[in-house]
């Protein structure tokens, strides 16, 4: 139906209304002269006239709105494919950003592992040094015995120096251990960051689900427009079917709850298998599961 068609319809409705009004004016006279049974019918008709007039008035009010919609529709119709295209770019951008974050995390992890290895080598070498100093101190102490004189004094000082060195090396060793532990802690934190990036997969599914809704809306609007104007509107929304679940969302606590439920379902199957040796997949019915969880 074109705009001209609608205008024509409005004119026709206007004519109908005029006729109805004329008829309504003359109706009392017609009724007077009519037979009883015809009179009854005409009375019913009389009751219908206000409703008919209301319908015509309603059409008059609605048609301009439809006209306006038809005028602006082609301009606005492109906004849905544009919006979905923007959503696709959001998915691509977050995927790119998470990849960059993962690259950085992997790089830092690699550096930390190298540092840890070098520190560990130093720690091992220090351990050897401490052991060696200890052995030498024991030899000096053995030589020293209960001797007296200047040489004995020098040897005593040497033992003290060795003890001090041993203590210092021991402290270094403990510090190195703490540094290695700290690096391991950083590594664990980096791993947590990496793990948190699962949000990207889940939000991408949510965006895809939103795109699917917009795609349906777009097709409905196009069909409606075609119904009024016989014209095709362009702009198709591309959706990656099968890649999303509209119910997913990033929620650790809910995931844990669902995990427990899944575990119980599988645990139930295992128990049944052990008890009856039935076939996999035929054991836990929906009723069984409902009985457990509801």
């Amino acid at each position: 139906m074109t705009e001209q068609d609608i205008q024509k319809l409005v004119q026709e409705l206007d004519q109908v209304r005029s006729h109805v009004l004329i008829f309504e004016t003359h109706l009392p006279d017609i009724i007077k002269g009519a037979r009883t049974h015809a009179k009854a019918h005409l009375l019913v008709f009389k009751d219908s006239f206000p409703r008919l007039r209301h319908t015509v008035e309603f059409a008059e009010q609605v048609v301009p709105t439809i006209n306006r919609m038809i005028r602006i529709w082609p301009e606005k119709a492109g906004s849905i494919p544009q919006a979905t295209s923007n959503l696709r770019k959001v998915t691509e951008a977050t995927e790119m950003a998470t990849t960059e974050i993962m690259d950085v995390v992997d790089g830092i992890t690699e550096q930390i592992e190298e540092l840890k290895a070098r520190l560990q080598a130093q720690r091992d070498s220090l351990g050897e040094g401490i052991k060696s100093v200890d052995e030498k101190r024991q030899k000096v102490e053995a030589c020293l015995g209960d001797g007296k004189g200047p040489k004995a004094q020098v040897l005593k000082e040497m033992v003290q120096w060795q003890q001090s060195l041993e203590s210092t090396l021991g402290e270094w060793g403990r510090t190195l251990d703490e540094v290695v532990q700290g690096l391991e802690g950083i590594n664990d934190s980096l791993f947590q960051i990496l793990n948190a990036l699962q949000f990207q997969d889940i939000t991408a599914q949510q965006i895809e689900a939103t795109k699917a809704i917009l795609a349906e809306l777009n097709e409905d609007l196009k069909a409606l427009f075609k119904g009024f104007t016989q014209m095709e509107l362009g702009g198709k929304v591309e959706v990656r079917r099968g890649t999303f679940d509209k119910q997913v969302h990033y929620d650790r606590e809910e995931a844990e709850r669902k995990q427990r439920m899944a575990d119980q379902i599988f645990e139930g199957r295992r128990t049944e298998e052990q008890n009856d040796g039935e076939e996999v997949g035929e054991i836990v019915s929906q009723d069984d599961i409902d009985a457990i969880f509801d």
Binding site: M102, I202, R241, K258, M261, A262, D263, F266
Partner: protein, 126 residues
Amino acid sequence: MASVKILAVDDSVTMRRILTNTLKRAGFDQVVEAEDGIDAWAKLQTEDNVGLILTDWNMPNMSGLEFVKKVRSDPKFGNVPIIMVTARGVKDDVLEAMRAGVNSYIVKPFTPQVLKEKIEKVLSSV
């Protein structure tokens, strides 16, 4: 156990990388990645001795569920353990996956501990 070769199937680049990293950190060094059911099926034909499959559900071309059914219907791979790793987590989903033949089910977002535990449990029971 750590020497087992694992096929990790997910259409998300991010998830594939997270899975591979987590598996390697847990000591599973042999990880093969696939981006959907079709790719996974092809990898299964070419890779020797795949000992475990981790698969997403929602994927283009061939979903995880279809892939599981395909694997289970082939006598050559019928006994390879499969863990579904998915954000879908309602009861019906879990039951459907179980009936299709998966050995375990992990809900996303998962923790590395859960992933490791499930893998160890599945591998120790085969």
